[in-house]
Subunit: 154 residues, 2 copies
């Protein structure tokens, strides 16, 4: 076993702290979401900072972003320094906007469903769930909102 009191983390340590599998961590690295140093023997070593980036990845997934979108956000943060407050709050603000928007979408849906509970909806014409044209008027090109659900599992 690698002794676990260094400031650099092995893949296994980093993965388990981030709550993901080792292959997933490697995959994230391949996608440019995290970075590592290598030992003389070519093994990955992660800085603590990498955990923060991984946590941001998880948060982004909860927000409903694709890895590419998350990468775009991460790319605006310094790669090997703690982000400045300005960096950080800009990112938070953008994501909060996305979340707020999604919440509004779901609330529209929720009220449609609620009005459906009693309506019987025997005629198509009346039902706002079935006829979401008005409700979803904003829907542009394929904004079928990407559902990503990570089953943290384990």
């Amino acid at each position: 076993m690698p002794h676990t009191s260094h400031s650099l983390l092995t893949v296994g340590e980093a993965a388990s702290r981030a709550g993901i599998t080792v292959p997933t961590l490697r995959y994230y690295e391949e996608r440019g979401l995290v970075h590592s140093q290598r030992t003389a023997g070519n093994q990955r070593r992660y800085q603590r900072l990498a955990l923060r980036r991984l946590a941001i990845v998880a948060a982004g997934q909860r927000v409903g972003l694709s890895l590419d979108q998350i990468k775009a956000a991460l790319d605006e943060l310094p790669a090997d320094r703690a982000p400045s407050q300005a960096d950080w709050s800009a990112m938070s603000r953008r994501w909060a906007g996305l979340v707020a928007r999604r919440i509004r979408e779901l609330q529209v849906l929720e009220s449609s469903l609620e009005s459906c509970i009693g309506c019987g909806c025997l005629s198509l014409g009346r039902c706002s769930l079935i006829n979401p044209d008005d409700a979803a008027a904003e829907e542009g090109a394929g904004s079928r909102w990407a559902r990503r659900a990570r089953d943290a599992g384990t």
Copy 2:
């Protein structure tokens, strides 16, 4: 052009009215989400009722359900009769519950992001976005937000 004033719809008509492509409609049918009759020449003909089912599929996707989950919901509705109000409101109620739950999750996330906007989050330990354990504490066994739920019971 097929003349467009029958009570039965061709694939093309049904697909365009449902806002999906023809292959997608065929795919849905293959998955058992809709059903059709066939002409003597083996072409699909859809009842109006199929449009309602397709609309339910779309709604379910907006709710965030998989096609399997949506199928499970549809399977409890009569296949070739309009659903009774009881059927309908039971489904709406279940879906409304899912939506409400998802909204609550996103609201937790939203408030985390909001508090992040100003916090700087220079230390991992404090940030609720980065440390969602407490925020997500209400969440029971696994299952981030119902998607892989084996109780696809809609």
